[in-house]
């Protein structure tokens, strides 16, 4: 690779880093329909596409075993990958699960983790077909790969957004992030005073959203029944803002979303206020919601409004490079990507 000016991982950011490192790679296989750059890779099998996605979950970065039940962790590790498969409008079929395990784990602890994996497999009808298990010198390492299939005409790419399409999200946003904030707060209070009893009652919804996210397969079924195929689609793992920018980049378009249209529940807003935070910050940048963000043609407006768990939050524009958050007063602020604060 040739010398470039940008030289720190922080400057590049996660997505810039991946782009930079993979820029010199050329696809040679006819079956490779889509490589790096969507929720999942897409492999052409003639009559249908296969989508493949993989996620790495590392202790201390993506999860904290102090407050994460292993059963939930096993379930979540699978579900976050299935969410990427669903975001391609595909049906998940198989997964592999690899684990790096430090000496502190007992067989019982691993059984708990696999119970969560099993629950996800049963619920979403996917088969566990492989993996790798190894010791780890440090923390728990989880790597999951999920494989799905879809008819060719059904697959949705990030690049499918068109001018004037409506921008929709499922469910509500920011709750998972506020759940994480509560868990972190109680953990720190407990660390300062071992007799302190964590107070988690009243936060059930936001805690569940963080600890046990559910992929929105239900909405995909409703869209199918309504005869709507999304233009572009992505799942919200890094925060609404970042995902909107992904769609705009891949679709070479702009967007405007309306502050007051972004669905944030009272539970989330109240928790945000406890931390002196704007609820909208959690919704835009919190991440881990695993809701779906997608675009539909204007003609689908009435059918979409009939689906209870979908909100129309704005529309695609032809102003490439302009992704705007429009406030109640008509002011427009450019959306920004979340910084990559995992590497320090």
């Amino acid at each position: 690779m040739t010398a470039k000016k940008v030289r720190t991982i922080e400057e590049l950011g996660e997505f810039g880093l991946i782009d930079h490192l993979t820029s010199g790679f050329i696809n040679r296989q006819e079956s490779t329909k889509m490589g790096v750059g969507d929720d999942a890779a897409v492999i052409d099998h003639g009559a249908y596409y296969q989508v493949i996605t993989t996620d790495l979950l590392l202790e201390g970065i993506h999860f904290d075993l102090v407050y994460t039940p292993l059963r939930h962790l096993g379930y979540k590790a699978v579900v976050v990958n299935l969410s990427d498969v669903y975001a391609m409008n595909a049906a998940p079929r198989q997964i592999t699960v690899s684990l790096g395990i430090s000496g502190k784990f007992s067989v019982e602890a691993l059984e708990e983790f696999y119970e969560g994996v099993k629950l996800a497999c049963e619920r979403f009808k996917v088969d566990l077909v492989g993996g790798d298990t190894s010791g780890s010198m440090t923390g728990l390492v989880i790597s999951v790969t999920a494989i799905g299939t879809a008819l060719k005409e059904e697959v949705t790419f990030r690049s499918g957004a068109l001018n004037n399409q409506l921008i929709c999200v499922t469910g509500d946003l920011g709750a998972a992030f506020m759940g994480l904030k509560i868990l972190e707060r109680e953990k720190q209070l407990h660390a300062k005073d071992p007799e302190f009893q964590p107070e988690l009652s009243g936060y059930d919804y936001i805690l569940r959203r963080f600890l046990k996210p559910e992929p929105r397969v239900d909405v995909l079924l409703e869209l199918k029944e309504a005869g709507i195929k999304p233009g572009a689609m992505i799942d919200i793992s890094d925060g609404l803002s970042s995902e909107l920018l992904h769609i705009c980049k891949a679709s070479e378009c702009g967007c405007q979303v309306y502050d007051e249209r972004i669905p944030v529940l009272d539970e989330t807003a109240e928790a945000a206020r406890e931390f002196g935070m704007e609820p909208m910050v959690a919704a835009l940048h919190g991440g881990e919601d695993y809701e779906l963000l997608f675009t539909v043609p204007l003609s689908a407006h009435d059918k979409i409004t009939a689906i209870q768990s979908v909100s129309i939050i704005g529309n695609i524009t032809d102003k490439k490079g302009s992704a705007l958050l429009v406030g109640n007063d008509g002011s427009a602020i450019p959306l920004q990507a979340q910084g990559w604060d995992h590497v320090s």
Copy 2:
């Protein structure tokens, strides 16, 4: 899962642990031909099979950055997965590469790693189609998934060994392990005395075998040209002994291999003697050779002996549970699986 007597990871061992944790899983997808239990999972695509395999490589367990050039590490991380694809008699097509990176890495260091990945992609004509990049609180984490395809009648399973078939290995064994031992020795001497200059000359072959293994696609081509389809096949990643036991278990058979037939080069034997080790121990238990172990019908004897880089080391027997190493004096010792010493 029900309570069982065995409760420590050490007692179960790596393969026992995987069996134990995945025993309650049921495959539901019609396309799942083979799940956990071979070099790769096998997915049925009608006209052909697709094989999928994944490996986790963790700093401090699988590699030591003190003596492992990142370019070699990138190459090896890909190649060990391709080796599993080849061991199914399939052709690799796509890979995903996920990295967990601690703060000590520069963009240049990651570029070096990806140069190794790229070299492997170019050499074996596979496409890098995805992955995940994240920070890591601790060491470098590498997770690679490889995907290949093969005509249905060409795929070889571990379970394909039949009574009286000849047992063959490619290349030579034990060299990679002795390369590792040399590197570890020089590292320790250097740690004791920082002015000490590691002495690695004269060990070129065994060092290369450890740092830059090559999958034996050449032998697969020769077998194909000779019209030989292996019965069972597996790649030697954990040591000959352990792989023979995998074949015997999956094929429900026994085996006998002859001490003097096991290919060990002089370079390997000399290095073993420097450590006061029996060369045969490195060959049986060293691992990381990434040679192929396979069985062929007796009728293929003459054709096999004509292939220079293949050795016939013994034969399959119908004595289930009896895997024997036969010495020059006719004595027979049961083969034992390598202990799982990574978890402590």
